[in-house]
């Protein structure tokens, strides 16, 4: 399978549905180790994305990703805005010129997104942030040769669950020190929804 403009739009429309459905849950997670706004932030940002994408005429997946990045950056608010904005902007640059986007190019895009977000947040693996979901997912893509929906969901879900036992050392959760242990990271959860949405697009494309 290759990712088309339409696939990429579907990806974000599905991701938006998940952000809306889980708005309260994401906010609840952020209440435990943050400032109770992650669900509100993500629901607001992705709603804007979902409103915009179907009304535009995109020439490439790269253009879709760029618009997603710009919209999230200005509408999400909170740390998640610049973080997700950076991810999709880097992905957009990485896949530019290849359309539809093949597996290798997409993998490279994900990796560039990960590198970018690590730089932006000055975060590494094991700090209880969304990096802890993106890093294993990038590894999973690099090991594979083609899109794999079920294993993608499994990888992202395990990674999200694993953030529970980590003590946060980045972002607002870091203020909670050892009290942050025992709670799943909200940003890792919204990242899981993004990959779950991608898996649905992959299944439909097969």
């Amino acid at each position: 399978m290759k990712l088309t403009v339409n696939n990429s739009i579907q990806w974000f429309l599905k991701a938006n549905e998940k952000m809306q459905e889980n708005k309260e849950y994401l906010t609840l997670l952020d209440k435990k180790i943050g400032d109770s706004d992650h669900g509100i932030n993500m629901a607001r940002g992705f709603q804007e994305v979902a409103n915009k994408l179907p009304t535009q005429d995109y020439a490439s997946v790269s253009d879709v990703l760029k618009d997603v990045a710009m919209t999230l950056m200005s509408k999400v608010g909170g740390a998640a805005g610049p973080l997700y904005g950076t991810i999709f902007l880097k992905m957009s640059t990485a896949v530019k010129g290849t359309d539809p986007v093949d597996y290798q190019t997409f993998t490279n895009g994900l990796e560039e997104g990960l590198v970018g977000v690590k730089q932006r947040g000055k975060a590494d693996v094991g700090e209880k942030t969304l990096v802890d979901v993106w890093a294993p997912v990038v590894d999973f893509f690099k090991q594979g040769v083609d899109f794999q929906a079920d294993q993608l969901v499994e990888t992202a879900e395990n990674a999200m669950d694993n953030t529970k036992d980590i003590q946060a050392s980045k972002g607002r959760a870091a203020y909670f020190k050892e009290k942050s242990i025992g709670h799943i990271d909200p940003g890792s959860t919204s990242s899981f929804y993004i990959f779950e949405a991608l898996a649905e697009v992959i299944r439909e494309g097969e």
């Binding site: 200005s74 509408k75 608010g77 909170g78 904005g85 950076t86």
Partner: protein
């Protein structure tokens, strides 16, 4: 002659506006712009607000950006990259006292780097 401009980035629009009030009581000429809260003036920071504030505060000598907690710094860094302004600097200093010191220094006609260094110096001594 133009002065270095100052951008105040805070999660709260009230904090940003309040600091500006404090400075304006003493320094009236130096460009000071606020970027407080989200685009709906809720608690948070917004990259477009920062970009607009940078644009308005830059009268030719560059801008110094002060920020508060969490995402404020990331949004500020992102805004600097996106604006492609060579003459903008983020400063890691107390928002209230730091921007006050910066305004006084900027009012003396100092360069961006000089203002930046003066602020850093005034807090390293304490």
């Amino acid at each position: 002659m133009a002065d270095v401009g100052i951008v105040l980035i805070s999660h709260s629009p009230k904090i940003a506006a309040g600091i500006k009030d404090i400075i304006r009581q003493v320094i009236t000429e130096v460009p000071i712009e606020t970027a407080g809260g989200t685009d709906e003036n809720e608690i948070g920071t917004n990259i477009d607000k920062i970009l607009n504030a940078m644009e308005a505060a830059d009268t030719g000598k560059g801008v110094l950006l002060f920020y508060d907690i969490g995402s404020a710094k990331m949004n500020a860094e992102m805004a600097i990259e996106m604006s492609e302004k060579e003459n903008s600097m983020l400063i890691d200093a107390p928002l209230v006292e730091g921007s006050y010191v910066a305004a006084v220094e900027a009012g003396m006609g100092k360069s961006l780097q000089e203002v930046h260094d003066a602020v850093i110096k005034s807090f390293s001594k304490r």
